[in-house]
Symmetry: C2
Subunit: 209 residues, 2 copies
């Protein structure tokens, strides 16, 4: 039975229901562990589903931060030091990834048992077993006036991934490396490819490639 959920009903209803419901609406989300250090060198790790593509030339990613949540250490570390890492999450450690969101006083790497690694002397730490790792530097940030969330824009400095997952055309086969996806606040999913489709043109049939 199709139900209509109006803005008015959502705003008048329970705030927990609204939070879970609205977080589900846009669809499947990326899942990345963001690694940072503070200015004293203490490392931090937190899961994010609000990382998205901004552009390829130059390579840019966006992250949307809520202003007053457990993620604030990540945001302040990025703004203070200018560096962070993105680390894809595999089925084998998604429960540890989820657990990094708990309010630990020390390093989440140690608390949940994920090994941290430094690559090429980059300031921010990576998750050693992550199958796709990205080194990013802070390029810009701005506040969304409507709700005070903060959009951080990162410049991609380097990517580490198994070259067997990278096609000649540049496509990275995320299923081959086991990257998973998330819905709502707490649901994790693996995927099964339907197809890649050819570039769409008006008078030609879509083909699987």
């Amino acid at each position: 039975m199709i139900n209509k959920y109006s803005k008015e009903a959502l705003l008048e209803g329970d705030s927990n229901f609204r939070r879970d419901f609205v977080n589900s609406l846009t669809g499947f989300k990326s899942l990345n562990l963001i690694g940072t250090r503070n200015e004293k060198g203490a490392s931090n790790l937190a899961p994010f589903s609000q990382v998205f593509h901004i552009g390829a030339s130059p390579p840019l990613v966006g992250i949307l931060f809520r202003p007053h949540t457990v993620e604030r250490h990540t945001l302040s570390n990025i703004l203070d030091t200018g560096f962070f890492t993105l680390n894809h999450v595999h089925e084998s450690f998604y429960k540890k990834a989820h657990q990094t969101a708990a309010r630990y006083s020390g390093s989440e790497f140690e608390a949940v048992g994920l090994e941290e690694v430094i690559l090429d002397g980059f300031y921010a730490p990576f998750v050693e077993i992550s199958p796709l790792k990205i080194a990013c530097s802070l390029a810009d940030h701005q506040t969304i006036q409507l709700n005070q969330t903060v959009l951080v824009i990162g410049a991609i400095e380097a990517v580490w991934v198994d070259e067997l997952a990278v096609g000649a055309d540049g496509f990275v086969d995320l299923e081959k490396i086991g990257t998973i996806t998330v819905t709502g606040l707490d649901a994790y999913h693996k995927t099964q490819k339907l197809a890649r489709l050819s570039y769409p043109k008006p008078n030609s049939e879509v083909k699987e490639i």
Copy 2:
């Protein structure tokens, strides 16, 4: 064999490789068909993988638009009229959804054979068979100075979805309604749930819920 792809190598290399590669990096993406009309009433439909959650109170979504691409009709229609719809894509019509990105001169609904529907007199059209439909009004927009992409922020006015897919806690089970996900520019995937996990706390084990 893990390979390092540096920013310098990407910028010096082939632009098509860079576009496909960088579009793959953030992970799995949402897939929505955006329905609009121009000021004369002509309808338009286009696929987007750059729709993301901005906030629940009030319910807001963001869409990132490239400035000079096939999506420009969607952007200009939103800015001109103030309304758009988001429509989740199911396996049964993902090839038609992909094909709406072709440069048609008339309505993509007609061109690819997706029926359009008006709900509650909302100005922008919906995709009749879409399992989750969202009516949005333009709340704000701003240009990302680093690459001139345009961030549109939409206020969620109403959502239509099967109430059997909506949990008592507000979580929407996207697998139950068949929503699919996308990677890179052209790869489509269905999903298989691993688990929902309990709210993470420092001294307690993560549980499946």
